[in-house]
Point group: C2
Chain length 316, copies 2
């Protein structure tokens, strides 16, 4: 599949940070940045930009805050055409945390939101846009969005912002290809002047397949992470996505190499990927929260009992 | 997705046997059979039926041969409506190995073939049919089949056999959804009196997604294995497939339970699932053979070097 408009965004450090409270070493982040840049990937999201007045440095590592100095130190001296992105959560960032783009190493700010917070997302995206950043709005938990509310949100984003793209974010890993088809069609109907993006989760081994489905439906902003690292079952594996896309600018080799050198050891330290409890939460279209909690107990492999507990929640 | 015509076939022991030379203990096979039967799955394929004159009992375990006594011992006393299947490979079975169905515990014989061996497959399928078995023909390595040869094979199978279904077998895990769409459409065009089946491999994390795509395209015979066990990256995970299918006859619970009890320990002993070398062979539309060999060496995690070696093969 070759389509010139396609942009790939690596969110290895940002989504991966959700499983280690953003405590990646500088060397790891630097190696990721080197590999992503060498592979020709368009964007790398290096973490969240949260306010230190709201979230504590005692509880979270530096990639939760992405202070300019920390980012610069990690990427210093690496030759790269890859743009840098940070994600902002509504209510966790203050406007002062967003420097004018000309003073920042960051190129793009992505606003994560639920449908209900669309007004706030628009406000934040416009603040970032006015300061000179490229922007996107990423609508999380999309498999739970009510149709009429989503319609209204998309119409409003189209009308009131200059974001480059609006994302379908399958936070629960609950979407099937037909849902992607439906949602991408809806997004494209409302977003006449913006691109559609897709961010999958792999709870049911569908993150990559749903990304391909998104491409077929015209999504041009594609999220992926190296070796699929990310919350719970993780994300669309970047190595598979680059194997699929035929754009000559992409080179798979640096990604394969960094998997061997950095991601196999990392996987020994922190857990992500296809595990039955994540498949179960996705089948119930639930946040993987309960499965993540289960994995920290000595019942982590008692799948039937976990299924019954999820089933009970969904009947009561 | 509910469609009454859908038949699910569990090939855990058969495809799983490819990674341990078919040396499963009777208890394991019995636990699989119990779980599959309790889950309401239509068929369980318990192994290959090979001739002992051709393949040696010194090299392969009993599930390579599926002698009647061995099968009966493993399943004795388990209450079940699940039919039993064995797979036969062309050139590895003699007609005498196929008892009349009325004397056998086996209900279905599936003939695995390459396109080029279609004549032999038809001959073998008709032999089994005439002895009273349900039959299918499973066309392997379909991602390498030449279009004109496949057309001819399908026309011939339609004309000359009474098989219930003809399978799309993605031996290399190389198919994308668009290929499944294309192939299923072709199969349905030629096979007016037969069902279409799909057997995926997970080298690119697409076995389940391709099975769903197959369902959308009208495939009614669906192969899966518990926890995705099977050669190389394995197969479509039965637990995910049952989570997707809404036919009320299926019950996911026994499958989840046997995964906890039997498959997590098994996975410690033998390796299957998503591993980068299998993704690489699939990207090149190659048999996973080279990746399987690599995994037995101390270079098993040197992905870039392996990619370069595959790349060289494909240029030379």
């Amino acid at each position: 599949m070759f389509r010139e408009e396609i942009k790939v965004l690596d969110c290895t450090v940002r989504d991966g940070g959700l499983i280690n409270n953003h405590y990646f070493e500088d060397d790891f982040v630097r190696n990721v940045y080197k590999a992503v840049a060498a592979s020709g990937v368009d964007y790398m999201e290096i973490g969240y930009r949260c306010s230190e007045n709201i979230m504590s440095r005692d509880e979270f590592g530096k990639w939760k805050f992405c202070k300019e100095d920390d980012v610069r130190r990690a990427i210093d001296g690496v030759e790269s055409n890859t743009k840098l992105s940070v994600m902002v959560d509504i209510g966790r960032v203050e406007k002062d945390d967003i420097l004018p783009c000309k003073d920042s190493v960051i190129d793009m700010i992505r606003v994560a939101t639920y449908v209900k917070d669309t007004d706030k997302a628009i406000d934040l995206a416009n603040e970032a846009f006015d300061k000179g950043y490229e922007t996107t709005i990423n609508i999380m938990a999309i498999s739970r969005a009510l149709d009429n509310e989503l319609d209204e949100a998309l119409a409003q984003i189209e009308e009131e912002t200059k974001v480059l793209a609006v994302y379908i974010v399958d936070s629960f890993g609950g979407l099937y290809s037909e849902n992607v088809q439906y949602l991408a069609g809806k997004y494209k109907k409302f977003l006449k002047t913006k691109e559609v993006g897709i961010h999958g989760h792999n709870n049911q081994q569908l993150a990559y397949a749903n990304t391909i489905q998104g491409i077929i439906e015209g999504c041009n902003y594609l999220d992926a992470t190296i070796y699929g690292i990310g919350r719970a079952a993780g994300n669309c594996p970047l190595e598979l996505l680059l194997g699929f896309l035929k754009n000559p600018k992409f080179n798979l080799r640096p990604i394969l190499d960094v998997i061997s050198k950095d991601f196999l050891p990392m996987r020994e330290k922190i857990e992500w990927g296809y595990l039955i409890p994540y498949a179960i939460t996705a089948m119930f279209n639930e946040h993987p929260r309960a499965a993540m909690a289960l994995r920290k107990t000595d019942k982590k492999d008692e799948f039937l009992e976990f299924y019954e507990s999820m089933s009970a929640i969904n009947i009561d």
